[in-house]
Amino acid sequence: MGILDHFNYWMVIVLMMAGLYTVISRGNLIKQVVGLNVFQVSVFVLYISMGKVSGGTAPILGEGITVYSNPLPHVLILTAIVVGVATTALALALVVRIRKAYGSIEEDDILKQENGS
């Protein structure tokens, strides 16, 4: 029990906030998608960190092993990763369409065109 007890969670928060800041402050749509991905992975790390048991092993049943890490978060995150990449693909497809319609992937350029015409 020491200062390192919560170190994983703190790193998760740092990553999460980096992703959040990018999503809020950057105007470039691809950059926002990457920021969203960083945020997403930080949530995955949070779940997996919670599932870890000290001295545990991977949740595959074997002889002479008694302590396993919690398999439930693994299942949730496993599906979340694949769904994450599917939604990322959808977001990128939207970006491609926006680029075709407006000729730009910068938020303020698009807003300018919207208001100007």
């Binding site: 928060i13 920021g35 992975v41 439930l72 496993l78 694949v82 599917a86 491609v96």
Partner: protein, 175 residues
């Protein structure tokens, strides 16, 4: 190290470098999952995050711009919001059980049941597979449907391309 990779990815302006760095970030995350005993998840992250996502990002970059518009100034309201939310979350972690504590609440509910009974009730040695496919079959059905829908959505958005006439000679008009 992973945090450094993420910061570099978010700070850079050349979007090609950003795509490569986000792939590296995923690979480091996969290594972290192995350390944390989640081998299935690490496998998926390495294949999906570092492989397919990077390819898709690069594919998008080819179709759009390579450079972000220079925007050096710091977005002050965003920074304030981020610091406030981060502070609150940090305060929240202080109440959480220590990392790796076997007595944590997350390990008290159904996890024990899965670990002890899945051999008898389901069979496969890999508990993750048992839980994924059997105990939580509904969830997985939902996830599969989400992927299905996402693929349909991509097809609807950018699937049917009206080819430019001069290139019509090339065969194949389906996406």
């Amino acid at each position: 190290m992973m945090a450094m990779g993420a910061m570099a990815a978010l700070a850079l302006r050349n979007l090609f470098a950003v795509a490569m760095l986000s792939g590296t970030y995923s690979l480091l995350a996969a290594a972290l999952y192995v350390v944390l005993d989640a081998v299935d998840v690490a496998f998926t992250e390495a294949a999906v995050g570092a492989g397919i996502s990077t390819v898709l990002l690069l594919g998008t970059l080819v179709l759009t711009d390579h450079h972000e518009k220079p925007n050096g100034r710091i977005h002050l309201p965003a920074l304030l919001i981020v610091l406030a939310v981060g502070g609150l979350l940090f305060y929240g972690t202080l109440d959480m059980p220590a990392f790796g504590d076997p007595q944590a609440p997350i390990h008290q509910h159904v996890a024990d049941h899965y670990i002890e009974e899945s051999r008898e009730e389901v069979g496969p040695p890999n508990i993750v597979t048992s839980v994924l496919a059997s105990y939580r079959g509904y969830d997985t059905l939902g996830e599969t449907t989400v992927i299905f829908t996402a693929a349909i959505g991509v097809l609807a958005l950018i699937g049917r391309v009206r080819r430019i006439r001069t290139r019509d000679a090339r065969s194949g008009d389906d996406p």
